[in-house]
């Protein structure tokens, strides 16, 4: 019930925001939605299934470059998006295989290496990606005479996809798959003994997380209108990791909070000149110390205080 109220409030705010926000703030909000989509994907892989991935930016690049490369040939945005998502899903499956053999920081190393390789391939495959010059003037989608060219129209376009991603992620995570993912995260051996195919579920956790990264990447390219390899570095992957960890690993609300904080906080602190990095880092350190379960802990506290009763936090 409370979750539905929060959802209704969120949708209301997102629908009305463009009426009051100036151009730059609307851009930040659009970016937050794109990052939310990416964070939801990583939360599925890492937060629910417990498989660390440090190559989320590489999966994202499949979406971005598919759209950017195909657009000049008159390919509709949605087709580019589907191509990008398919590529990301496929490579997610491939990256799932090492997860069957290695765990924890070893898996972190493997995925980290993949991000670096992806970055180098993008930078050096100049005929396709434009190398370090990148690709500029990436067209925004249009349906016949209905164009999403304006910032406000494109914002609503992103909002539509965000709704699709949130709904589908919720649907997957509340299914038996979501439960199996959590079982793997909590105790792999036990999960296998109650019949969970570690191979199938780990591959799917990687591939679905990667597919969401592909969606986010595809929406990202026309939003910023210019992409280069620098947008898909390891730093970016770590930024997604931070969103998911800050928000609350394995909690559905986590990515919403994490994406908002990690995207908006640096902007809000921009006025403090060079101090913002210090404040930002300090906030992260303090949070890790006092809220190891992420910012979603504050949310739980508020809900408990408002509702007055103790509720077992639903992890789905």
């Amino acid at each position: 019930m409370r979750r539905w109220l929060a959802l209704a409030a969120g949708v209301g705010i997102c629908a009305l925001a463009p009426l009051v926000l100036e151009q730059y703030k609307l851009y930040i909000l659009s970016l937050t939605l794109v990052y939310l989509i990416l964070a939801i994907g990583l939360n599925l892989t890492l937060g629910y299934a417990g498989q660390i991935s440090l190559c989320h930016a590489a999966f994202m690049s499949f979406g971005s470059y598919a759209v950017a490369v195909l657009a000049p040939y008159g390919v509709p945005f949605e087709i580019g998006l589907i191509v990008g998502v398919t590529l990301a899903f496929g490579w997610g499956l491939v990256l799932g295989f090492p997860a069957l053999k290695v765990k924890h920081h070893y898996l972190a190393m493997v995925t980290l290496a993949f991000n670096i390789i992806a970055f180098l391939v993008i930078r050096n495959w100049e005929s396709l990606t434009g190398g370090s010059y990148g690709i500029s003037n990436i067209a925004r989608p249009a349906w016949g005479r209905l164009s999403f060219q304006s910032d406000r129209a494109y914002y609503f376009y992103i909002l539509g996809w965000t709704a699709v991603v949130v709904a589908s992620a919720y649907w997957i995570l509340t299914s038996r798959w979501g439960r199996a993912f959590r079982a793997i995260r909590e105790n792999e051996m036990r999960a296998a003994v109650v019949g969970v195919s570690l191979r199938n579920y780990k591959l799917m956790a990687f591939a679905i997380g990667a597919a969401y990264a592909g969606v986010g990447g595809a929406l990202f390219a026309p939003l910023v209108a210019y992409i280069d390899p620098g947008a898909f570095t390891l730093d970016r992957s770590i930024q997604f990791l931070m969103m998911v960890v800050m928000g609350g690993l394995g909690r559905f609300e986590g990515p919403f909070i994490g994406a908002a904080v990690v995207t908006i906080l640096p902007e809000a602190l921009r006025g403090s000149e060079g101090l913002y990095l210090i404040i930002y880092s300090l906030a992260v350190i303090l949070m890790m110390l006092f809220m190891p379960k992420g910012l979603v802990g504050i949310w739980d506290g508020a809900v408990g205080w408002l509702g007055g009763g103790k509720e077992v936090p639903s992890t789905s």
Partner: protein, 250 residues
């Protein structure tokens, strides 16, 4: 027991080595359908290793395991489970961040059907009902929606037992189900096992409580230092000098 029919579980000449340490050496055990077999032996005699090799948690070094006449040696745990073998753990292994009910549902959901069906089939009322009946049977109804980690040791032990029953298995391997429980719970658990056995469930029970094993099982297998040293009815085991030696030294 139907003499002449193939055994439900047939373990042949099973050996398991950890580097140069030999945990099991040429152990053969058969379990007939509907049986309630006791597996005893001093600490470190290889009882849990035998369970681990049967359920695919460990790969045996030598020998073979057959279930219902089919070779299941070397299958991964999920495949062994789907054929109808379930087990409990000596050191309790629950999904501690899931509720009691979710633990039970988790223990049942992978038993049948395809993976795709598991994504698209949302309804779970049949399993839920079975879980609630089981909780009633185990007197855990009042903690249905508590996190597994909030349960007392005895309750966790019972939940682990419940998880082994959830998939409607053909054989249940119980690894020290009574250890650390108080006498009242032990009595009720013994009753539960007897009742389920009468309903057709097949059990293999590892247990240190001799009184329980002797009264519960009609046949007992004794392991010592990775080898089978005796097998027979409780009275025979009781009178066996090698068994007494293994337990009390000599």
């Amino acid at each position: 027991m139907t003499p002449g029919a193939a055994p439900l579980l047939d373990v042949r000449d099973l050996s398991k080595h950890f580097y140069r340490l030999s945990a099991l050496t040429g152990v053969s055990v058969t379990v007939e359908p509907g049986e309630l077999l006791g597996l005893i032996g001093p600490n470190g005699s290889g009882k849990t290793t035998l369970f681990n090799c049967v359920t695919g948690v460990l790969q045996p070094s030598l020998g073979r395991v057959a279930f219902k006449g089919e070779d299941i040696t070397g299958l991964t745990p999920d495949h062994v489970y789907r054929r109808g073998v379930s087990r409990t753990f000596q050191l309790i292994q629950l999904f501690s961040e899931m509720t009691v009910l979710e633990n039970l549902l988790m223990a049942a959901q992978e038993r049948r059907g395809t993976m795709l069906r598991r994504l698209f089939r949302r309804a779970e009322s049949e399993e839920r009902e079975r879980a609630l009946r089981l909780l009633d049977f185990l007197k855990l109804t009042h903690v249905t929606n508590n996190l597994a980690s909030d349960l007392s040791y005895g309750q966790q032990k019972l939940l682990d037992f419940g998880m082994a029953l959830m998939p409607e298995p053909e054989i249940v391997l119980l690894d020290e189900p009574m250890a650390g429980l108080n006498p009242t719970i032990i009595r009720s658990l013994v009753e539960h096992i007897r009742e389920l056995n009468a309903r057709g469930y097949t059990f293999v029970v590892i247990e240190h409580n001799m009184e329980v094993v002797m009264s519960l099982c009609r046949r007992i297998v004794v392991l010592s230092q990775g080898e089978k040293i005796a097998e027979g009815a409780p009275s025979e085991i009781h009178a066996n000098a090698r068994v007494m030696d293994a337990y009390f030294g000599g």
